[in-house]
Symmetry: C2
Subunit: 296 residues, 2 copies
């Protein structure tokens, strides 16, 4: 069976079954980050790895500094999705031997810019030869207070579902320049009990079902409410992916306060209630748009 | 300027200059692992990333379980080189969509086998599409007691230089099945003041000068003393690389005791004194064999 016939979620499920996992691991494969720490630790450690590949995540003629920014910010976005603080990055780079030093320097300029902006130390990595496309993998470690760590799986039936920003059209515009929502996520976990959270990377149509499934819930979604980037259709907003906005669930009693203070704190970034988690049942309100599958 | 014309060390030097680095980082880019921790912490954290690429580190028809073993054990070997204990691994995998699930399952079987053998938890990772060769990047976190952490840079003039095992011929034989020297390294740092250490991955001819340079020393090396794998020439033992043995420096006064107890503790693994660190000077005893350069 080829991976392309199986689809990404099935491949990941097949591979992450029965992985060796010690008792110090609170959350292993399957969430935005892995979480290391015990029930008495004040701080938990977050671990994440994420790769961008020439021809998949960026085009060969793209400015290397934008590629570097994106490579690090994708991983930072996953730390944000757990409510965490990014700390230490390692960069694995594989490029053709005929690559120009200027290209690699440009890449590192983008990596450094993102690192400085979000307080990340670039502590090492590896440079190797690639016989094919350029490959940049970022490993990022961070931390989060145990009491503030948010997973995908804590949502409950009746929770309201919110998304930040506007969705869709990212590949044509901002996907190389997006801002990971570290500030917003930290503010959220410091002021509210966020029950479940993730970042929207494969499109809401893929990611909301993942959050609901991890929380053992179904969901409702009103596609008309989904905040769209200018010029985008509902289909694009649901399916394009690479938005790197926050998708989260919160108790209905917190909604009024959240919406009021959010507007004051982040006046430029929309926060939109798009649906709800509901009791798991077979009669799910479904939509027909699909998000990004890495092997499709 | 192309990377192939510069050589690996110059590329790494150009890229690692002026990286953002916080005060909690004891050792950034340039050693076997990055080290996070302060002068009062009992344990320091080790971070490492390492990649294997189809067509560079393994052939397309290689058994996937052996590739998985190698991918994780390379990073474990770097943790050993610091005297540390490997703990948590993240796997980044990029493969062609037409890759068979059986291949990826085999790869994970090898990863799991190595993880169990060395007490590593595989806590997550990422699976993506590659338009070219298969790419497996391992990010590994570990820990080491602050007082036992060994870098490349602590060597002093007159220190004796040792290497474990036998060198050379790895690509034809063991490079996919090697045993990272975790047990030996832990024993060394628990019983001796190891001044500088690294693992031999690019060949002694590349790696010994790196250790000496990091320690601001020159070195002597008697090529005739270098322990060779069966059937290997001195040139192969010095230049082949992928040995994943330990190379370390220790005070001369500790040598007699080290050699005596090593033989009892690890009777099957040779330990050989191959040279010494000497005062930095221009009159270095040099040899004409070169190790592996990733861009040459």
């Amino acid at each position: 069976m080829k991976l392309s016939a199986l689809g990404e979620d099935a491949v990941v499920a097949a591979l992450t079954r029965a992985l060796p996992c010690g008792r110090d691991v609170s959350i292993g494969a399957g969430d935005d980050c892995a979480v290391v720490g015990g029930p008495r630790d004040q701080w938990w450690r977050l671990l994440k790895t994420d790769a961008v590949i020439e021809g998949v995540h960026f085009l060969p003629d793209e400015k290397p500094a934008r590629v570097g920014w994106k490579a690090l910010c994708r991983a930072i976005s996953d730390i944000a999705a757990m409510g965490g603080i990014p700390e230490h990055a390692l960069i694995t780079l594989a490029v053709r031997p005929e690559t120009k030093l200027a290209w690699v320097r440009g890449l590192y300029a983008g990596l450094r810019k993102a690192a400085r902006r979000f307080g990340v130390s670039i502590v090492g990595g590896e440079t190797s030869r690639s016989p094919g496309p350029a490959f940049i993998s970022v490993a990022l470690a961070g931390r989060v207070e145990r009491t503030r760590c948010v997973t995908r799986s804590g949502g409950r039936a009746c929770d309201a579902v919110y998304v930040t920003g506007r969705l869709g059209g990212s590949l044509a515009r901002k996907h190389l320049d997006f801002t990971p929502r570290i500030a917003e996520a930290r503010w959220l976990v410091e002021h509210f009990k966020v029950r479940a959270m993730m970042d929207v990377s494969d499109g809401l149509a893929s990611d909301l079902p993942r959050l609901a499934r991890a929380s053992k819930c179904s969901y409702t979604l009103d596609p008309k409410l989904v905040p769209r980037s200018r010029g985008c259709t509902i289909e694009q907003a649901l399916g394009d992916g690479e938005d790197f906005e926050l998708l989260f669930a919160i108790a209905p009693r917190d909604c009024a306060k959240l919406e009021a203070v959010w507007r004051k704190k982040f006046p430029k970034l929309p926060l939109t209630r798009i649906g709800a988690l509901i009791r798991n049942s077979s009669s799910v309100i479904r939509h027909s748009i699909h998000g990004h599958d890495h092997f499709a």
